[in-house]
């Protein structure tokens, strides 16, 4: 991984069209600004990891099948 040192208001350019700027540093938190073409999808990495974890949990978990689920839902 490339590691660069930056100060507040300094930027990094990725290719021609993506700019990443350090906007604010407060204690342990860093606020980052990103300028990128609208087609570029930007996510917190945790979201991907969370969905991956949830997929694995769903694949392991089913102690009961859909028919039982439907019956549970239709109670009450």
């Amino acid at each position: 991984m490339l590691v660069l040192t930056r100060k507040v208001n300094e930027s990094i350019l990725v290719g021609d069209s993506i700019e990443i700027m350090v906007v604010e540093i407060k204690g342990e938190q860093v606020k980052i600004g990103i300028r990128a073409p609208s087609a570029t999808r930007i996510y917190r990495k945790e979201v991907f990891e969370e969905i991956e974890r949830e997929n694995k949990r769903a694949a392991e978990a089913p102690y009961v099948g859909p028919d039982r689920l439907a019956r549970i839902l239709e109670q009450k």
């Binding site: 087609a39 930007i42 949830e54 694949a59 102690y63 099948g65 028919d67 689920l69 549970i72």
Partner: protein, 157 residues
């Protein structure tokens, strides 16, 4: 066609029923072909069985059965990956997690499975919308909606 699955034994399917997820699902990149099957006659809940990994199956549900206002935004990238044309029919499913206490089942509304039904292509879409979570509780909303007997909507835009 037929496949021997771990959960359901041998099941028959037609090639035209296969849904292809070119990128797989997150965490399961090598399982790309799935079929949706009815087991036990539930209208809302189905199994999505992998054709590439006989032991892999998910319970899926259309979010419209408990959230009529669910309306995930499909980005241009996702549309391209789904080869989505304006006349194509689209459907949305959420993967259901069922813990030991099934009453606490949840649906993953943050990473819905969007399917181009016309071309049989699917994709797990990662939403940026913070309103949706990976563990959305189902049961209360489902029961509230069922008691008003509302039909599911198509759930995608």
């Amino acid at each position: 066609m037929e496949i021997e699955t771990t959960r359901f034994g041998v099941i028959q399917y037609r090639e035209e029923d296969v849904l292809t997820f070119p990128d797989g699902l997150l965490g399961f990149p090598n399982s790309r072909r799935y079929i949706i099957i009815d087991v036990g006659g539930s209208v809302a809940f189905k199994w999505m069985q992998s054709l590439d990994q006989p032991e892999l199956a998910f319970i899926v549900v259309r979010p419209g059965y408990f959230r009529t206002d669910y309306n995930p935004h499909i980005s241009d990238d996702d549309r391209k990956a789904l080869q989505l044309d304006s006349q194509d029919e689209i459907a949305c499913f959420a993967i259901v997690s069922v813990p030991r206490d099934p009453e606490r089942m949840t649906a993953n509304l943050r990473g819905p499975l969007v399917v181009n039904l016309s071309k049989r292509i699917g994709r797990q879409v990662v939403l940026t919308d913070e309103r949706y979570t990976t563990r959305h509780p189902i049961i209360d909303e489902y029961r509230a909606l069922a008691s008003r007997s509302v039909q599911p909507t198509s759930n995608a835009s």
